[in-house]
């Protein structure tokens, strides 16, 4: 049997992965709350942020490249919204979703073309990867920083949504798209703001994830993206605390499953099984609001 340290390590890595999923899941849940669109390209924005870092840090120092990467990621996210989702605002939901799948396909192929399909080494950020010794456990500093940073960002975000004017506008738009438009809310700027926040958090998540993981490859965004989406559904789509809690649960379960040799192959499948179960038992998730369909 394993000792307590082993289980603590397992739990810690679960919390780390979970907080990364949380950062990505917020992007999904906010966009879904407002546009009722599963932004399939979100996972690929996360991947592209990884490649931005690879290429920019080759030229600049880390202090310059990290803000630059975040800025570029935000620009990418907003540009995608403007180019691929805005023209389809009045189209049926299926078309918008197909467009999102198309964007995801495009970003993957773009990354594949630029890199030649080879995984690239992620620049080493010494501050993150240093190993610390805490009570007999040797852990990377990033394992501790990630959850703390995530929680801090989530708190800031919740304050932003509850207290500021733009936050109020977001809540109004997600409640009723058309009425809020009639009340004089500028829908387009609210939607852009949503994409700014979502992409920014995806950028932060990508820096944390890839400095832990070590390399970036064109197809890497799909799986964390889908899992983060499941986390968002699990917590109740549209609810930010829900997404965070869902992500933590999925992250911890995943690291436990991965540690067990015989069932390790199911670490991805588990997430989806959880999704199907949650959709059947509690279709609105843990904290979701009940929506009724009007004729």
């Amino acid at each position: 049997m394993h000792d307590a340290a082993y289980y603590i390590q397992l739990l810690l890595s679960g919390v780390t992965v979970g907080s990364l999923y949380a950062l990505i899941a917020i992007g999904y849940t906010m966009v879904y709350g407002i546009l009722r669109l599963i932004n399939f390209a979100h996972g690929d924005i996360f991947m592209m942020a990884g490649f931005f870092m690879v290429y920019i840090s080759a030229e600049c120092s880390l202090a310059v490249s990290i803000p630059l990467v975040l800025l570029l990621t935000v620009i990418l996210g907003v540009a995608i919204e403007r180019a691929a989702y805005k023209p389809l605002r009045t189209a049926p939901r299926m078309s918008v979703m197909i467009s999102a799948i198309g964007v995801s396909y495009l970003l993957q192929n773009l990354a594949n073309y630029i890199t030649g399909g080879i995984a690239r080494a992620y620049p080493d950020i010494p501050f993150f990867t240093q190993v610390m010794n805490v009570g007999g456990l040797s852990i990377k500093r990033i394992t501790v920083i990630t959850p703390i940073l995530t929680i801090a960002l989530v708190v800031v975000l919740v304050i932003l949504i509850q207290k500021t004017k733009i936050g109020m506008a977001m809540r109004a738009v997600s409640r009723d798209f058309e009425t809020s438009q009639l009340m004089g809310i500028k829908i387009n700027s609210v939607i852009s703001m949503t994409f700014v926040i979502g992409s920014f958090l995806a950028g932060v998540a990508s820096i944390l994830y890839f400095s832990n993981y070590g390399q970036v490859s064109p197809m890497i965004g799909a799986m964390p993206g889908l899992k983060a989406f499941v986390a968002a559904v699990f917590g109740g789509i549209g609810s930010i605390p829900g997404a965070v809690i869902g992500a933590f649960i999925i992250g911890i379960c995943e690291s436990v499953i991965k540690a067990n040799e015989t069932i390790a192959v199911f670490s991805n499948a588990f997430t989806f099984a959880l999704l199907i179960v949650i959709l059947l038992c509690k279709p609105n998730g843990l904290f979701g609001e009940k929506l009724t369909e009007k004729v």
């Binding site: 197909i98 467009s99 799948i101 198309g102 989806f272 959709l279």
Partner: protein
């Protein structure tokens, strides 16, 4: 009107004869050419695209589980048709596997449809209640779960885990996938034109209205889902034969996206559109756009930006343009018909006449 019917029948027969003659020619003289590959793969993808279109375009169920059903079909077929003598070689890590019999090709092909349909029934019971995007994610998730199960070491004696399955019964003539696809697509067309098809379309257009008209939603959705997965399974078996090997890791969600994009290019809700879309897509991605991956295609002029991967990039940009600006795809929701073609040319001529007259009057 009657004349038109006769004319149309005659034209269809001529077209069919030309197609068959062309296929026979390719089969005989260009058996290993790129053209033959494209034709074979195109026929297989048409079947899969049409089966997805039955769900997305005709019933309005947004399912992304097609690759999963194809995978189950491909595995069912290949597990059942590997000759007993070859099993020890294929299942070398699992002592020859636990299936120690072999069924004829045609039985295997039919079972390759039935087994995915059974799985579809199991998954459909809970999942079909969900609304559009949740259904999409749940079916996508189902495909991922199936992929994980097949690759699990514990079921290795049945599925060979993550190793290749090969040496199963295969086709030689390029006519084979065409015949199977044509029969299956013919069946789907008959279905769509029947009362069932009209019920599917009613559900697509307005679920609540359809229910009010007395259509049993759960029953019809399940029927569409079962039939679609049945044919996706057969398509998967054909794809397995085409590749002459099966591996679970190739049936990813990217494959489903590819098929979905074919349906979109062809036109959601058009059978002929899906068929044209698949041949076009396969021809472009496998053949016509190959030169984009080659840095020096003409006269040894080196074009630096053309290197492997550029083809897919151009391709995805084209797809985005179709998705954004030509949302109806090639065919919209219309079907190919001779009357349509004649009307099109008549209109074109009239336009020319008009513009000519306008020029003359000026």
């Amino acid at each position: 009107m009657k004349n038109n019917k006769k004319r149309n029948l005659l034209l269809s027969l001529i077209l069919a004869a030309i197609c068959i003659a062309f296929l026979l020619y390719v089969d005989k003289f260009q058996h290993y050419s790129m053209l033959a590959t494209v034709l074979k793969k195109g026929a297989i993808y048409s079947l899969v695209a049409v089966s997805l279109n039955l769900l997305n375009g005709f019933t309005g169920l947004f399912s992304l589980g097609q690759a999963g059903f194809m995978m189950i079909g491909a595995y069912t077929y290949s597990i059942l048709t590997i000759p007993v003598a070859d099993r020890a070689g294929v299942y070398q890590y699992f002592d020859g596997g636990i299936v120690q019999f072999c069924v004829p090709m045609i039985v295997g092909l039919i079972l390759a449809g039935i087994v995915p349909a059974i799985f579809a029934w199991l998954i459909g019971l809970p999942v079909l209640k969900l609304k559009s995007d949740y259904l999409a994610i749940a079916t996508l998730g189902f495909a991922e779960i199936m992929r994980a199960i097949i690759q699990w070491k514990q079921v290795g004696p049945l599925t060979n885990a993550s190793n290749l399955l090969k040496k199963f019964a295969n086709f030689d003539s390029i006519l084979f996938p065409f015949i199977v696809s044509a029969i299956c697509i013919g069946f789907i067309v008959l279905l769509i034109n029947s009362t069932y098809g009209r019920a599917f379309k009613a559900i697509r257009d307005d679920e609540i209205a359809a229910e009010a008209m007395g259509i049993n939603l759960a029953k019809h959705k399940m029927q569409a889902f079962l039939i679609s997965s049945f044919f996706a399974g057969i398509g998967g078996a054909l794809l397995a034969m085409f590749q002459s090997s099966v591996q679970a890791s190739t049936f990813t969600s990217t494959m489903t996206y590819e098929i979905l994009l074919i349906v979109v290019i062809g036109g959601i809700g058009s059978i002929t559109g899906s068929i044209i879309g698949s041949f076009l897509y396969i021809a472009c991605s496998e053949w016509w756009l190959r030169f984009l991956d080659d840095p020096a295609p003409y006269l040894h002029v080196n074009i630096s930006f053309m290197r492997p991967g550029f083809r897919m990039l151009v391709f995805s940009v084209v797809i985005m343009i179709v998705v954004l600006f030509f949302r109806k795809g090639i065919m919209g929701d219309r079907e190919f018909s001779w009357d349509g073609i004649f009307n099109f040319f008549k209109k074109l001529c009239k336009k020319k006449d008009k513009s000519a007259k306008e020029v003359a009057s000026k």
